[in-house]
């Protein structure tokens, strides 16, 4: 088990370029097989780099089909000259339209229009208007009533202020005088 972990640590240190953990170093110093593995892993870079040229030389020679690149080059040039175009994709567009229509049906509802007023309705409306205009006295009475209630309110408010002033004068033994009588009151 320790050998397995130590060999993983050796591989990890080879890949990351970091030093071996101390425990792995101690194990390697005791274990011949792991020491062998460490030597092998350390030698791989040099050995494989040395063998690389011979290995590549053994690959069968084959020509590159450069003629096909011409077409690819033309395609690339065309693409570059055209730039990017906005293309309508029919299926997503139709789906979007359907979704908008469905949403519109959900939000709005169809209501029948009100009927156009008939000649009789118009005559009745005119008569009602005339009856209102023909009764100005009733309006005047209503206005007087409104004014009188306002006067009453004003009187109540004035008496409240006067009694408050009297109370303060008596309590604090002072005299309060009105400097300028308010215009509105």
């Amino acid at each position: 088990m320790l050998c397995h972990l130590a060999r993983k640590a050796i591989s990890g240190s080879e890949d990351r370029g970091k030093a071996l953990p101390r425990w792995a170093g101690r194990h390697i110093s005791r274990c011949e097989a792991c020491r062998e593995h460490a030597r092998f892993a350390a030698s791989l870079r040099t050995r494989l780099a040395g063998d690389r040229a011979a290995f590549l030389a053994a690959v069968p020679e084959f020509p590159l089909k450069e003629v096909a690149w011409n077409e690819a080059g033309m395609e690339r040039k065309e693409r570059a000259s055209l730039g990017r175009r906005l293309v309508l994709r029919p299926i997503p567009a139709a789906a979007g339209l359907l979704a908008v229509a469905a949403a519109a049906f959900l939000v709005f509802r169809v209501v029948p229009r009100e009927q156009v007023p008939t000649a009789g309705d118009r005559a009745a409306a005119r008569a009602a208007f005339k009856s209102i205009v023909a009764a100005p006295d009733e309006f005047r009475v209503a206005l007087t009533g409104a004014e009188s209630s306002l006067e009453k309110e004003k009187r109540i408010w004035e008496s409240s202020v006067v009694s408050a002033v009297e109370y303060l004068q008596a309590r604090l033994n002072i005299r309060i005088e009105r400097r300028d009588p308010p215009k509105s009151l």
Binding site: L2, C3, H4, A6, R7, K8, S11, G12, E14, D15, R16, G25, H27, I28, S29, R30, C31, E32, A33, C34, R35, E36, H37, A38, R39, F40, A41, A42, S43, L44, R45, T46, R47, L48, A49, G50, D51, R52, A54, F55, L56, A57, A58, V59, P60, F62, L64, K65, E66, A68, W69, A72, G73, E75, R76, A80
Partner: protein, 194 residues
């Protein structure tokens, strides 16, 4: 000599000779990378052609902040997977007679193929292990770059590399004498614990 990234930048600016130079540099390397995944040399050659065609078509999308090799191997991996799904290419183990000079050490090293040494042994590994090993030691990529190129996580790539090393060591037997010199000096040997 221009770097791959300089050539890729020139190719992106419209230089056809720069792209041709890149293709010449990488065609054999790409072949080696793709071969274990495909059934025959012919399929592999076709895939190499398709990969370069795709790259040439999309060279204006190359991001110079990344290495060109990472972009190339990523495109090749994706194209292989996509082609595999579309055409149902029958993947098969590499056979010496198909591979020409590229040997299959599982069946014994063929004559004249011993110069490639350890890489020949590596060809007998599982294809995913061989591919990460090639990118790590053949292309000098780090784990993050390999993960991007093969479309796997870093942890998965680290695990594949570990397994590749273990299996390669098993296949080659004990470390050869040449390896001893390159190895770190080990402490004095004690009793075998593993």
């Amino acid at each position: 000599m221009k770097t791959d990234e300089e050539l890729a930048r020139e190719a992106r600016a419209g230089s056809r000779p720069a792209f041709e130079e890149l293709a010449l540099r990488y065609k054999r390397r790409l072949f080696v990378y793709l071969r274990p995944r495909l059934a025959s040399d012919q399929d592999t050659e076709d895939m190499v052609q398709e990969t370069f065609l795709k790259l040439y078509r999309n060279i204006d999308r190359y991001d110079p902040t990344y290495r060109f090799s990472t972009w190339l191997y990523t495109a090749a991996t994706r194209l292989t997977i996509s082609s595999y799904r579309k055409k149902r290419i029958a993947a098969g183990p590499l056979r010496a007679e198909e591979a020409g000079g590229v040997a299959d050490p599982a069946g014994g090293p063929p004559a004249g193929a011993d110069t490639a040494g350890l890489w020949d042994s590596a060809r007998a590994l599982a294809e995913s292990q061989f591919r990460v090993l090639w990118l790590r030691y053949g292309e000098d990529m780090d784990v993050a770059e390999i993960a991007r190129a093969v479309g796997k996580s870093r942890v998965a790539v680290s695990l594949l590399l570990h397994r590749a090393r273990m299996n390669l060591m098993k296949r080659t037997g004990a470390a050869p004498a040449g390896a001893m010199a390159a190895a770190k000096p080990a402490a004095a040997g004690g009793p075998t614990a593993g």
